[in-house]
Each structure stands twice: as C-alpha cells, then as structure tokens.
Amino acid sequence: MAQLFRPGANTLVRAALACVVLAPLLLFLLGMTIVRSGYVTGEGRFVDQPVPFSHQHHAGDVGIDCRYCHTGVESQANAVIPPTHTCMTCHSQLWTNAQMLAPVRESMASGKPLAWNRVNRLPAYVYFDHHVHVQNGVPCAACHGDVRRMPLTRQTASLTMGWCLACHRSPEDRIVAPAREFEGDPYHGRTANDRAFAHAVMAHIVASGRKLTDCTVCHR
C-alpha cells in the first residue's frame, strides 16, 4: 500500500500538536499585555481641549496655586473644574482678544459652559474623594503627575484598580508632609518631615480600624 502522507507530515503534525498547547498560552499573554498597555488604560494619553489650556504656563511659569481653580480639592470629593468666571478674572484684563481664548469669552457672553474633555477618567462605579487624599498627604502628583511640566494635560497613571490598590496597600511611601501636597514633584527628595507625617497618617488609619483595601472604600 502507498503512503497516505508525504514525509513532511510527521514534522507538520508535531508542530501542530505543539501549537495546540502553546497558542492559547501566547494569546493569553498577549491579552494580559494589551489590557495593561496605555492603549487600553489611556496612560500617557493627551486629550485635545476646546481651549489649549497649559498647566505648565499657569501653574508652572505663572505659579498659580492648584487651589485657585480647583477649589474643591481640599474641602470635598470633587476637585472642581473652574467656572468660566474664574478664567475671566484674569483674562478680562490679559490677552483680552487672543484668538485662542475666543471660546472662553464666547462662553462668558452666551452663558454656555465650556465643554472640557475629561483627561483622568474613572469608571462610574468608582467613587474617588479628593479631599480625604489631599488632606492626608497624598499629593496631586501621585495621580496627576507633574502638571507644571505639561503644556497639554496628559493622563500620567494607568488608573487601573491594580494601580489604585498598589498605593492603598502601602500608602506610607506615597504620603508627603502637608505643605508639599501641591508641589510638582514632591517625591523627589523625601524629607524626614514627610516620613513623620506619613507615619502619623498610617497610625491613624490603623487606629481607626479602616481597611484601605475594603471594597466599599471605592465602590458602592
């Protein structure tokens, strides 16, 4: 009887068997990488804005304090995007007819709000509270990066649950002394002061019996 298969068949079938085992494994690894990539998480993503607002210019060069616009950050959950009115406090004097500020003036005139595009986006079922973080020494930069160096605002963290947990599991080395929360790069050169405050906060958390990895800390 003649051979049913060509000699190559043996190798072929062995290769095939190998694939049966390896292919799913590879696909799995590929998936794991993709979901963690910026492509999915949006880490490092720039977002166009109706007005090309530069944190570098306002917060960095001019040196306006974060809290001047984000008025809620120390007192409530929502850090607050400033109303058009806030922009106009300066821009009614400065650059009063700069083309790039036209939308701001238009909004002030028409009373129609500016539609800023969200940069740091959390799912709707995640409840983040700004003031409890800031008041306990978690600097803006921990999540938002050094906005003083951002001509256009960029998402600097992956904002995945795993990323949040990393900090909630060991906050102490993310906490800085009260004064430094609003610095651009507070983690650069941590002082004994920082460590002392971090220690105090940790002590409070432990004493309060709160568990920062409880689901209800973020989800309701």
């Binding site: 049913l4 079938v13 799995f28 794991m32 998480t41 992956s158 995945t160 649950m161 947990l165």
Partner: protein, 457 residues
C-alpha cells in the same frame, strides 16, 4: 428493531457476540461499512433536519436570554434558581455515567463493555458539553464568566475559592477535557483501522491524522492499554467527585433541604442512574438503526436493566434517608420541608418523580421485561423525566419555603425555559447523529478481542 421481544439467551455464561459474527474482519466491516460505505438514508436526514431545527430554536431562546436577561425565565426573587441549574445538574449527571461505565467496567474486566463503551463515552462528551452551557447561561452578566478563572487581572482580584461554583468551574473543565482525552485514547486503534480500510482518500487521510501513525505493534498496544487503564483508575474517582461537587452546590449552604451530608453520594448514584438510562436508549437505537444485533445482544440490555433496577433501589432509600433524617434530626425547618414536598405547591410533581425513579424500574424484576424493547424505552425515559424532576424539585421545594414565610413564593417556568431545555436535548441528539457518521460507535478492536476470547472458549 427486529421483533420487540429480543430472542432471549441462556442465563448461564451469556455470549456477548452472536454466532452470526464469525471472523475478526466481520466485526470491522459490521461497524465500519454502514458508516463509510453506505450513504445515510432518508430516515437519517429527516432526523437530522428535525434536530437541527429544534437546536436552532434552542439557540434562539439562548440568544434572547442573553439579550434581555434572566428576566425571560420563571425565576423570581425567592426562587432565584430555576431551569438552568436543574438542567445543568441533570445533564452533568447523564454525562457522568459514560466515563464511569466505561472505566469502571474496564477496571472490573467486564468484557461486555466492549460494545457499549464507545457510545457511552461519546454520550459523556456531549452531555457534559450541554451541561457546560448552563452555568454560564444562568449568570446575570454572562460576559464576565471568565472572572471565575484565576488570571492576573488588571483589577488585582482573584476568584473566591470557597464558593462551590468555583469548584464546579474546575470540575466541569477538568472533566470535559479529561473525557475527551479518555475517549481519544480508546479511539486511536479504530481510526487507524478506518485509515487502512479502502475508501475515499480524503476520509482516509482524515482518519490518518487522527490515528497519529498508529500501526498496532505490540509496543504501541502495550502503551495504549497501559494508559487506558491508568486513565480508568483516575476516571472513577474523578467522575464521583465531579458529581459530589455538584451536590455540594446545595449541600454547602444553610438552606433547609440542602444542607444534607447525604447529597454528594446521592447525587452520584442519581447520575449513574440517569446515565444508564440514556445508554440503554442509545444502544437500542444504534442496534436497530445500524443492524448491530450481532454485537449488541439482549444480554447487554439484561445487565444494564439490572443496574438500573439496583440504582432505583438506592435512590429510593436515599429519599427515605432524607425523610428519616429530617424526622430524626428534629430540625423544624427540615421537617416543614418534607411536609411541603408532599403537600406543597409541587406535590404532584414530587409524587410523579417518586413513581418514575423508584417504582417504574421495579418492572425489571421481571426477566422478560429486561430484554423487552418497549419496557426498556419506557422505563429509561421515565427515569430521565424522574431524575430531571428530582433536580428541579431540589431547587423549588427549598427556595419556595425558606426561613421567612413573608418571602415564600411559588415558581412557574416560562416558554423560554422549555425552549432552551428542548434545544439542548435536540443538540445532544444532533451531535450523536453527526458522530455516527464520523467514527465507529462500537469499539472494533475491543470487540475483536472479545470475539477471539469467546471463540476460544
């Protein structure tokens, strides 16, 4: 089939292959010819079309359920589980029997398994596949079923290993894949035979690939036989544990009527029970449709009927044990439940269930009925209905009368529930119809072995 009452055989030392089968080649031809040479007749295609249509209907039912949610079913706020879970338990039960039969009989050197084990194992594969649909389908958010699998999520959370549902996940997965391997190991020599048998080249190449270059040298036979028995040794505890775990879905709770240590064993017996019923039906159909009277003989049915009878008795006593332990334990909740079983909203279903599972099989005390086709069909179907009722009643009776009377609710299934159940039944048959055209439904090499033995004796 030729004559409802099969020609009865002498009790002592039954012959498992009729004298009509003379040579080894005869065995191969008897099994392979109808499959490879003869085109499928109109009867086949009619059956195929009907089953395909019903399967499609079931698929639609599932599609709608996925689109609109579990709200399409009869489940309510108290009876949160309904058909899907019952179907799952029922199918997995049927699925258990196949591998159990084949492996248990292999270990106990039951020669007669030769002609039924292939079909039994195939039944396992298909039944478990059907069962596998339901745990996913019954979820509220089916798209996230994979959260039961422990992979490094970006969320940083893992499955909750204490949940019986996670155990389920692993047992179905393991059992399905294991059964496929077991099935394949037993299949290799036969596909090799089909490869070497004159026929269309394309098909022969197909079988050639499946055979993986099997030649039948003593070395290969030794390896194959050794692995087969090792897998059989693993299969027996695996099968039992799989259905024990299904039992634990209920037993590992604190609802009256569920928290019963008897559940695991009693689920296993139930599985064996319903599985054998299906095997009987399948063997009857194969024997009749593929004219395998020579290889599947009355003695086979006689033995299987005895097994069904035995398990019916065990089932009966398990029910008895349930009632007794309720009374003996004195737990008010359990007593109330037993009373509810007989007097509550589902009393007639419960009595029907007892009739089917315990009384009907008693017919097999009569020797003649054990080989009477209609009796076999009737009892087997009865047992299947009875076992399905048992599964659904386990859910309904407990969930309809929980600890809080203010939240007692009765359950009524919807048309969608029935469509989906029917769909899986049809799909099961459909798969078998396809299988019958693809691979030998009787293990040829084992029957050769058996034949050789009997001829020497």
């Amino acid at each position: 089939m030729s004559g409802v009452q099969m020609r009865h055989v002498r009790k002592q030392s039954p012959r498992w292959v009729l004298p009509s089968v003379t040579s080894l080649d005869h065995v191969t031809e008897a099994v392979a010819a109808p499959m490879m040479d003869r085109p499928a007749g109109p009867r086949y295609w009619i059956a195929f079309a009907t089953m395909a249509a019903l399967t499609l209907a079931g698929a639609l039912g599932i599609a709608f359920s996925l689109a609109y949610g579990p709200g399409l079913w009869g489940n309510n706020s108290a009876v949160v589980w309904g058909f899907p879970i019952a179907n799952y338990v029922w199918w997995i039960g049927i699925g258990n029997a196949g591998t159990l039969i084949s492996s248990l009989l292999l270990l106990t050197r039951q020669k007669w398994r030769a002609s039924i084990n292939r079909a039994a194992e195939a039944m396992t594969l298909f039944a478990v596949s059907m069962a596998g649909i339901f745990p996913i389908l019954h979820l509220g958010r089916q798209v996230y079923f994979y959260w039961l699998f422990p992979y490094p999520q970006a969320m940083g959370v893992w499955p909750q290993w204490r949940s019986a549902l996670v155990w389920d996940f692993w047992s179905i997965l393991s059992y399905l894949l294991f059964s496929i391997l077991f099935f394949y190991v037993g299949l290799i020599p036969d596909v090799a035979a089909l490869r070497d048998r004159p026929g269309k080249r394309g098909w022969r190449r197909f079988y050639g690939v499946l055979a993986m270059g099997w030649q039948g040298t003593p070395r290969q036979w030794r390896a194959q036989r050794r692995l087969h028995s090792i897998m059989a040794v693993i299969a027996v505890p695996l099968v039992c544990s799989v259905h024990s775990i299904v039992g634990l879905d209920f037993a590992a709770s604190l609802m009256p009527g569920w928290t019963e240590s008897i559940f695991p064993p009693y689920f296993v017996v139930g599985a064996f029970f319903s599985g054998f019923a299906v095997v009987v039906l399948i063997m009857l159909v194969i024997r009749w449709s593929m004219n395998l009277e020579g290889l599947i003989v009355p003695a086979h049915f006689d033995v299987m009927a005895k097994v069904i009878l035995a398990s019916a008795i065990v089932m009966g006593s398990s029910y008895g044990a349930e009632w007794f332990s309720a009374w003996w334990g004195g737990e008010r909740g359990d007593i109330r439940l037993v009373v509810y079983e007989f007097t509550g909203d589902y009393w007639w279903l419960y009595l029907l269930m007892l009739a089917m599972n315990v009384l009907a099989p008693q017919l097999f005390w009569v020797a003649k009925l054990r080989t009477n086709a209609w009796a076999l069909v009737g009892v087997s179907v009865g047992v299947l209905v009875g076992m399905w009722l048992e599964r659904i009643l386990i859910i309904l009776n407990t969930l309809s009368t929980g600890y809080e009377p203010s939240f007692w609710r009765t359950y009524a299934p919807t048309i969608v529930d029935f469509i989906i159940l029917g769909g899986t039944l049809a799909a099961f048959v459909l798969l078998f119809l396809i299988l019958a055209r693809l691979i030998p439904v009787v293990s040829m090499y084992e029957v050769r072995d058996l034949l050789a033995d009997e001829r020497q004796a």
